[in-house]
């Protein structure tokens, strides 16, 4: 169901190449996996400059962390854990975790899409985070649990609460009423 797929390539082989400092493997990682992280960051950060900074920081952190990464989780989980840490660092630097001040609206989006994004931004940050990882990026519940460092059960219940909040938030909108 993954919305943003990465091209198939054996993770074991890729990890071995990354650990040996293979430049082609690193280029591949930043292109293929970077795409999913980019789409996630776009809805967690205020503007494209911040997305670019945090994406760069995440990928550089991956280069630094890969020698000690034991492969006990997927590369996607590994990268999203780093991305979430970098997002937290970003907001800590800003000393705020309040609503996103600006939007990353794309030209040509339908009014429903814009309204949907506005609804998402009003959700609790933890709910937005899991909804994006699950339904926008396409991570599995087990992967999200590992990214968040929570159990599968508690991640499922967090997702359930997030779905409920989204449901309530959308009830007061015109999304889908065209």
């Amino acid at each position: 169901m993954a919305v943003i797929e990465t091209k198939s390539r054996s993770e074991t082989d890729l990890l071995r190449e990354l650990k040996s400092g293979d430049e082609q493997a690193w280029s591949y990682l930043s292109t293929e996996y970077g795409n999913r992280i980019y789409n996630y960051l776009r809805h967690r950060l205020p503007n494209l400059e911040d997305v670019e900074d945090v994406l760069g920081e995440t990928m550089v952190a991956a280069v630094r962390a890969i020698p000690t990464f034991d492969g006990n989780v997927t590369l996607t989980t590994f990268l999203f854990s780093l991305a979430n840490r970098k997002i937290a660092d970003f907001w800590r630097r800003r000393q705020t975790t309040t609503e996103l001040p600006e939007t990353l609206m794309d030209a040509g989006l339908s009014s429903d899409s814009i309204e949907f994004q506005e609804v998402l931004r009003r959700l609790r940050p933890a709910h937005l985070q899991v909804l994006l990882m699950r339904y926008h990026v396409g991570l599995g519940v087990d992967e999200i649990a590992k990214v968040l460092g929570q159990s599968y059960k508690s991640t499922e219940s967090l997702l359930s609460r997030a779905r409920m909040e989204l449901r309530k938030a959308l009830d007061g909108t015109h999304v889908g009423d065209d």
């Binding site: 040996s20 930043s30 990928m59 280069v63 065209d178």
Partner: protein, 81 residues
């Protein structure tokens, strides 16, 4: 959009199902491609860091290697004794 309208109406009573949410996000929050310039900048940043972590070894001149030196010393010093 009519399809979404029907879908949302059909579940007014409770939370969304997995399939409904997948459709909702696909429809209203489509994935965007990374701008090529951004991909280039990030890849270049990554490769710089890779170069720092795994510095490329300078290629040795072909005549300076262990076996060649051993041969040289054997031929010109040890053998002549």
């Amino acid at each position: 959009m009519a399809h979404m309208s029907v879908m949302i109406e059909s579940t007014r009573s409770g939370a969304f199902s997995e399939q409904e949410l997948q459709a909702l996000f696909r429809q209203y929050l489509p994935a965007q491609p990374v701008p090529p310039a951004l991909t280039s900048r990030v890849t270049s940043l990554v490769l710089q860091e890779v170069e720092t972590r795994w510095p490329k070894k300078r290629p040795q001149p072909s005549w300076v290697n262990g076996a060649a030196l051993q041969d040289f010393f054997y031929t010109y010093f040890l053998k002549r004794r």
